[in-house]
């Protein structure tokens, strides 16, 4: 199973409405969270090479359907949307766990983090609720029988870990490369239309937090431009004004 989060496209202007309590989604295009797309592509390889079946799932309202359709066009077999507006990681993780516990997944792939909330929490919470093994910052994954070998990016290097399935991973670039990402073709898009797609009503609501308002960083002060012939001044400013060297 691949968990996908529906996020504003990376070049989106981030603005808020309703007295800074809501994200302004007008003129924003939504995409599959980039880390999830790396994970989905890896899943498609499991399908192509090992005959895996792929479910793709998202917690969200109707506007999420487009990214699930895209995931189906890329190669997932079944789509699920849990029909609730995501409010916090715990709520999302709980809803996803409810679904996972009813199916017999060997592998759950989520992203290292979503680029909108940046929590990096959902997959770990699921793992702990369901007692799955969990590895995040995953840059390579091989599965043999019921054993997984995983490479994880750590500070200053890469470690190799192994564990038994079931496993949940947090995917990131490296698991597959940018150039491996698939743009859905016409055939895929047509096929996606006839793939099973289910909307799940689950009214469990367990949140631990609420977002009460948003703000934007202060506008930046003026830049000091220096001549390439005056690098001594730059060094002086870094030393005496900014005090960083």
């Amino acid at each position: 199973m691949v968990c996908v989060s529906c996020v504003p496209e990376t070049t989106s202007k981030i603005n808020f409405t309703n007295n800074n309590t809501e994200f302004d989604s007008s003129q924003v295009q939504y995409v599959i969270n980039p880390n999830d797309e790396f994970g989905l592509t890896r899943a498609v390889w499991f399908k192509e090479n090992d005959g895996a079946e792929i479910d793709v799932i998202s917690v969200g309202l109707e506007n999420t359907d487009q990214i699930l359709r895209k995931a189906l066009a890329i190669g997932a077999d079944r789509g699920y949307r849990i029909n609730q507006e995501p409010t916090d990681s715990y709520q999302v993780a709980k809803l996803l766990s409810n679904h996972i516990s009813k199916h017999n997944y060997d592998l759950v792939i989520a992203g290292r983090e979503s680029i909108d909330y940046n929590g990096g929490m959902v997959p770990g919470i699921i793992a702990e609720i369901l007692h799955f093994n969990y590895v995040t910052n995953c840059v390579d994954l091989k599965i043999n029988e019921n054993k997984a070998k995983i490479k994880r990016e750590i500070e200053g290097g890469i470690e190799t870990l192994s564990c038994k399935l079931p496993l949940i991973i947090g995917a990131q670039k490296g698991l597959v490369e940018e150039s491996d990402l698939k743009i859905p073709n016409m055939r895929g898009i047509m096929q996606a239309r006839s793939k099973p797609f289910e909307i799940i009503e689950d009214n469990t609501v367990e949140t631990k937090t609420n977002t009460i308002s948003f703000s934007k960083p202060d506008n930046h002060k003026e830049i000091k431009l220096l001549s390439p012939d005056n690098l001594d001044e730059l060094i002086d400013l870094l030393h005496n004004e900014a005090k960083v060297i």
Binding site: G156, S162, L225
Partner: protein
């Protein structure tokens, strides 16, 4: 009741980022009237912590904990938070801390808030600011659960000295072994890590090719800085993926970020903008990075960078 700070280490050395966590906890402890407990795993130099005000240091030495394992570490912190009655747990925003915190939050039924950038603006209800949308915005979060885990964004609070005379206790811990087995590790040799560096020297496609990175590395060496790069540079294979910074790479929140031949695309800026001081070197005065930087030089990297390096060496020789 107490505030528990998990002190991270690297090869049995306490990480510098821990001092900021302790400073944060100390400030929070004034608001909550609670004591600050530091939890240290397999470190010898624990006395360095007393400069930053902990009331108590819990020190654990166990070979089983030599290697980081998120499950084992989460279990240990869970045990300690239960035995100390800690309702507020302060951790760093490193990849390991976020990894273990998601597990820990379920074990102790806590809310976990990552990327926290300031002291709570209110205690009851508990409201804290975190960065979101890849640093393009902040949000105020109200925490409804009694137990809270806060991961603090690096360099967002700062370090305050506050000498104390902590009680030091050695503790033991029993846990069920995690199902994740360590096989091996490959460390990238010698270089300073982006995550720990005070200065990051970053370069982009303006460098034309990997063969030109020697001037970047020389500058980084002089400054004792980590090297980083833009996404296309790592996609092209000029530099390793581990150097890719930005919205889809590593976040950088350092004291000084020097961007060389990087245009400043929104996805790049999102990941690096929380760095304190930004310097841009670019031939194109219209490059978007100039709009967000503190100091800029419109000029050719191949000319400016080696000159800057030489001048820095002279400066360092004079100032040391």
């Amino acid at each position: 009741m107490s505030i528990l700070v998990y002190i991270e280490s690297n090869e049995n050395e306490i990480k510098k980022s821990s001092f900021e966590l302790l400073s944060y906890a100390k400030e929070l402890s004034k608001k909550l009237s609670l004591e600050v407990i530091a939890l240290v795993i397999n470190c010898s130099n624990i006395l360095t912590l007393q400069e930053f005000g902990p009331d108590k240091i819990l020190s654990i030495n166990q070979t089983k904990l030599n290697l980081f394992n998120a499950q084992n570490y989460a279990e240990l912190i869970s045990n300690v938070s239960k035995s100390t009655g800690a309702k507020n747990i302060i951790i760093s925003d490193s990849v390991n801390c976020k990894y273990l915190a998601s597990l820990l939050s379920v074990k102790i039924n806590a809310a976990f808030i990552s990327n926290v950038v300031s002291i709570p603006s209110s205690i009851s209800p508990f409201i804290v600011k975190r960065s979101t949308f890849s640093n393009k915005a902040f949000c105020d979060i109200k925490i409804n659960s009694d137990i809270k885990i806060l991961s603090i964004s690096k360099n967002s609070f700062g370090v305050n000295k506050n000498k104390s005379e902590p009680i030091i206790e050695n503790i033991e811990n029993d846990f069920i072994e995690s199902g994740i087995i360590f096989e091996s590790v490959e460390l990238s040799s010698g270089s300073v890590r982006i995550e720990d560096a005070d200065i990051v020297v970053s370069a982009g496609r303006g460098m034309k090719g990997p063969e030109n990175w020697n001037i970047i590395e020389d500058l980084a060496k002089t400054l004792n800085a980590a090297t980083a790069c833009s996404k296309p540079v790592s996609d092209l294979g000029w530099r390793p993926h581990s150097e890719h910074v930005g919205q889809t790479g590593k976040p950088v929140s350092t004291n000084l970020y020097i961007a060389i031949g990087i245009s400043g695309a929104i996805q790049h800026l999102a990941g690096v903008s929380s760095s304190k001081v930004k310097v841009v070197i670019n031939t194109d005065p219209e490059a978007p990075f100039f709009k967000v930087a503190d100091y800029g030089i419109v000029g050719d990297a191949f000319d400016v960078v080696p000159k800057l390096n030489e001048k820095l060496k002279v400066f360092q020789a004079e100032n040391n």
